[in-house]
Amino acid sequence: MFQIVGKRKLNDSMTLMVVEAPFIAKKAKPGQFIILRVDEHGERIPLTIADYDRKTGTITIIYQVVGKTTMKLDQLQEGDALLDFVGPLGKPSELEGYHRAAVIGGGAGCAIAWPQAKALHQMGTKVDMIAGFRNKDIIILEDEMRAACDNLYLMTDDGSNGHKGFVTSALEENINNGAGYDLVVAIGPLVMMRAVVGVTKPKNIKTIVSMNPIMIDGTGMCGGCRLTVGGKTKFACVDGPDFDGFEVDFDETIRRSHTYYDEERRMAREEKCKLMEGAKNA
């Protein structure tokens, strides 16, 4: 069992959790992820290692509540324990040797982009972080992101924080103003990453994207996480999750991520009802 030693709500739908996992904390590197199982009936879900502390032996995860398993996860409190927690999985990000990088996070993707920005920044790369949210009420990790980069560009879809626009508009503007990026890291919804590549590919700016297909084992056994990169089949859990954005077949990945949509929605509805019942009876 893996004890939860910290829990903090970041906004209405996002939570940060600190979990005791000394073996994983010893080995974790930016870009890697864990797979957890909440309880005996639970499914296995992957979450990025947002942070780690080798001394205290803890791993930080940040998740967005989107369906049944993340709802169940969010029911747990400090002091409770997770049944399974396995990692560090995937390849660490390869971030060495860049001068000026734009790290782009979309919504929940900021949780994953933040450690990348931090790693680049610590290596001496000049980092612009561009973070996009739907509105200002759901902005998360603002202080953490600011500390992990040279310039933070916070964008909202509705302009409620005074900076209206998508992450791609900020990216284009910076590029046009001569930012001179030799690396772009894009992490967020698949459509956002596809849009970023739409900007960087014509300009031939190396772009790393973090892919999040449906996973089960995370060890290369099920093939469920496969995606097409440069015309070849890759397994995101062992060959990724980072890939060259120019090579990824986003349309295919977007389709495949909906494979279990009907069943997932049904389970999420049922879980919600259960939670509401529970709240009523409490």
């Binding site: 073996f23 994983i24 080995k27 199982r37 009936h41 639970g42 499914e43 296995r44 049944k68 398993t69 169940k72 049944l83 399974d84 927690f85 396995v86 990692g87 560090p88 999985l89 089960i216 084992d217 995370g218 060890t219 290369g220 056994m221 099920c222 093939g223 469920g224 496969r226 995606l227 097409t228 089949t233 062992v238 077949d249 349309d251 295919e252 389709r255 495949r256 909906h258 494979t259 279990y260 009907d262 069943e263 997932e264 389970m267």
Partner: protein
């Protein structure tokens, strides 16, 4: 006087039209009367030809003689001398090519039902036996086992019996390997596998799940932690694909994903959170045990139509005969000499059809089997919404890619000395599917056993 009945004593089974809708075990097992009756068919041959067909050398006539006398616990103890997972082997061994293929009763009629008797004895023991799980006093030496499949578990059990302090590191959240995630409940109930694992734990074997070796710990670190030898039993879990167009469409799955969802994650039970694969009209590609398991699982998940597409002829199918027979009874439709050439999708990228070409048998190939060749112009389309690719698995690459100096061949199999199971790394041994490529439970166990003996000799030699 032996029982000269020509056929095996029939095995009680759930009726096909009933069982194809549930996950309960198909074969229900012998009663004591049936077991005695079958045991009496054994001639107790002096030269024991059957034993030479068993990769772990179960003392077949000896245990069967005890069954005939109603001494089931004694029979069990004899099997246990050489086979650490008899309840599993009795169910899944391909007996028709192993022990039973050598049985003299098979010359005229059917061979003795050795597997069925082995199963009966193990099940009887699980129900009635009193396990005096004696922990052997520790000899103070530590050994690490990577992978809790049949090879790793056998190696662990044998070493624990010699007094070693054994830790099994398993990547998944449960031990058992393919026995847990691949072979379905209706063929091998998971409760039985769990009991075997619990018995090992009772003997002092420590099992650490959620440990992906190569990621969380490397083999060098295991040595640093005081393990004097390491056994690699990581299996062949990497699914092969056909590399034909359409394999990335929504609705195409590897057999591993399809089966893992159902077996490991229990997606067929409404109170488990992992979604099962949605199935209506299914095509399973392949002709081995994995293909049979996928096809029969699809039926149980509610598929209306399940086709097996196999590019060779029926006689060439590598699946156990019994499973093919069961699949047919349950309504799986077999299309032999049929090879898929591409999978076609609708405008949303969902599987709609699989295009196949008919094959005919040509000249024998390297394996001696007649090679299937395409019949030009024989292409046809089969309408399906789910394609399960079950054309084989290769060794897991993770250990290989993270362990320096571990030699592997071009197929990704760890290279070992076939007698000692020694790898190219000092103190590191390997066996099972990781070495042979996808094979059988009993071969993996045989390899694990051989490795345990070598590890013992290695550590004792070192400490002289």
């Amino acid at each position: 006087m032996p029982n000269m009945q020509q056929k095996k004593t029939p095995m009680p089974e759930q009726a096909p039209e009933v069982r194809c809708h549930n996950f309960a075990e198909v074969a229900e097992g012998y009663t004591e009367e049936m077991a005695k009756n079958e045991a009496q068919r054994c001639l107790n041959c002096k030269n024991k030809p059957c034993v030479s067909g068993c990769p772990v050398g179960v003392h077949i006539p000896d245990f069967i003689a005890h069954v005939a006398n109603g001494e089931y616990e004694k029979a069990f103890q004899i099997i246990k001398l050489t086979n650490s997972l008899p309840a599993v082997c009795g169910r899944v061994c391909p007996q028709e090519t192993q022990c039973e293929s050598k049985c003299v009763r098979g010359l005229k009629g059917e061979p003795v039902g050795i597997g069925r008797l082995e199963r009966f004895v193990s099940d009887w023991h699980m129900k009635h036996g009193t396990e005096e799980s004696t922990k052997v006093p520790s000899n103070g030496h530590k050994v690490a086992i990577i992978g809790a499949g049949p090879s790793g578990l056998t190696c662990a059990g044998d070493l624990a019996a010699k007094g070693y302090q054994v830790t099994v590191f398993e990547a998944l959240h449960v031990a058992g390997g393919v026995l847990m995630y691949g072979i379905p409940q209706f063929r091998l109930p998971k409760e039985i596998v769990q009991k075997e694992i619990d018995a090992l734990k009772a003997k002092g074997v420590e099992v650490k799940t959620d440990m992906v070796i190569g990621k969380v710990l490397e083999i060098d670190e295991l040595f640093d932690m005081g393990y004097e030898a390491v056994f690699i039993g990581t299996g062949a879990g990497l699914p092969n694909f056909m590399n034909i167009p359409g394999e990335a469409l929504v609705g195409t799955y590897s057999a591993n994903e399809f089966l893992t969802r159902v077996n490991l994650m229990k997606a067929y039970k409404p109170d488990y959170d992992t979604p099962a694969v949605p199935v209506h009209k299914v095509a399973v590609i392949g002709g081995g045990n994995v293909a049979m398991d996928a096809a029969r699982t699809a039926l149980r998940l509610g598929a209306e139509e399940v086709h097996v597409l196999y590019r060779r002829a029926e006689e060439q199918m590598p699946a156990r005969r019994e499973e093919v027979h069961h699949a047919k009874e349950e309504g799986v439709i077999f299309n032999f000499l049929t090879a898929p050439v591409r999978i076609l999708g609708d405008d949303k990228g969902h599987v709609q059809e699989v295009e196949c070409v008919k094959m005919q048998l040509g000249e024998p190939d390297a394996s001696g089997r007649r090679r299937p060749v395409e019949i030009p112009g024989s292409n046809f389309k089969q309408s399906v919404d789910c394609v399960v690719v079950a054309i084989g698995n290769s060794p897991n690459p993770l250990i290989r890619s993270t362990t320096k100096g571990l030699e592997a061949n071009h197929k990704g199999c760890v290279v070992v000395d076939e007698e000692t199971m020694k790898t190219s790394r000092e103190g590191v041994y390997a066996a099972g599917d990781a070495v042979s490529g996808a094979a059988t439970v009993i071969l993996a166990m045989g390899g694990g056993k051989a490795a345990a003996n070598s590890i013992d000799a290695f550590i004792q030699g070192k400490n002289k």
